[in-house]
């Protein structure tokens, strides 16, 4: 939806229906759309999580150092290796 919306066609929805009800597909689609919209907006506002991964309350400057250049979410796949 975010990168290649043209790939989401009738066949794609047919495949989805093998796994989910129409209610669940609408729920998923709306959730994904909502997140596509809001994460880009949030990204322009330059704010970061209040807490470090170890649970410490941190300043926005420290949080930017933790999450800004190399976000934990992007590092996660390496952690699972």
């Amino acid at each position: 939806m975010a990168l290649n919306p043209d790939k989401i066609d009738a066949a794609f929805y047919e495949e989805l229906r093998r796994h989910y009800t129409d209610e669940e597909i609408v729920e998923l689609g709306a959730f994904i759309g909502f997140n596509i919209g809001y994460h880009t907006f949030f990204g322009t506002l330059k704010f970061y999580p209040m807490f470090a991964p170890d649970g410490r309350l941190v300043s926005q400057e420290e949080s930017a150092r933790i999450y800004g250049a190399a976000p934990v979410s992007l590092a996660a796949p390496q952690l699972t290796k």
Binding site: M1, A2, P5, I8, D9, A10, Y13, D22, E23, E24, I25, V26, E27, G29, A30, F31, I32, G33, F34, N35, I36, G37, Y38, T40, F41, F42, G43, T44, L45, K46
Partner: protein, 181 residues
Amino acid sequence: MTYIEPLKSEDIHDPDLQELIRRGAALGVPDALFSRILARAPVHAKALLRALLHSHYEGSVDHRLKEIIRVQLARTAGDPYFGGLRSARARQAGLDEDRIGAGSGKFEQDPRFTAAEKWALRYAREMYLNPERIDAAFYAEGKRHYSEAQIMELGAFIAFHYGMQAFARTLGMRPHLRRAQ
């Protein structure tokens, strides 16, 4: 034919959802097609329709400006459904197709738009095409035209409508009714 079959109106029994669908149809955005597809997930449908309607015509930013932005965003998202819908309220307030089209074009040089309107139109355009351009200086410029509350209202409106348009694009929808000229 949409990829997810909309619920029939007679199968929607929740009065709050019925009212939200009616309000959307009266405004023209969204028409009943998107609402009846959302109604497949009724709890989500109520929250999303309420937010769509509220962000579009409540608040302190001119609804006509938001309507121009909404169409510009739909064009960015490549969504013919929301791009084809028009707000009846904005039209009644004097917004015409020429001005809507100008908002998706070279509005920076267009004397019909104020400096504040040009900033808001740039905010929407850059948000999804060049988000790295929306920096501290960009927000500082915005604060010369709008209060922080208005900037949040605009940002949330842009993010929410773009997100729904990204979803709508994948559903194979077109506007339900022909637009009045």
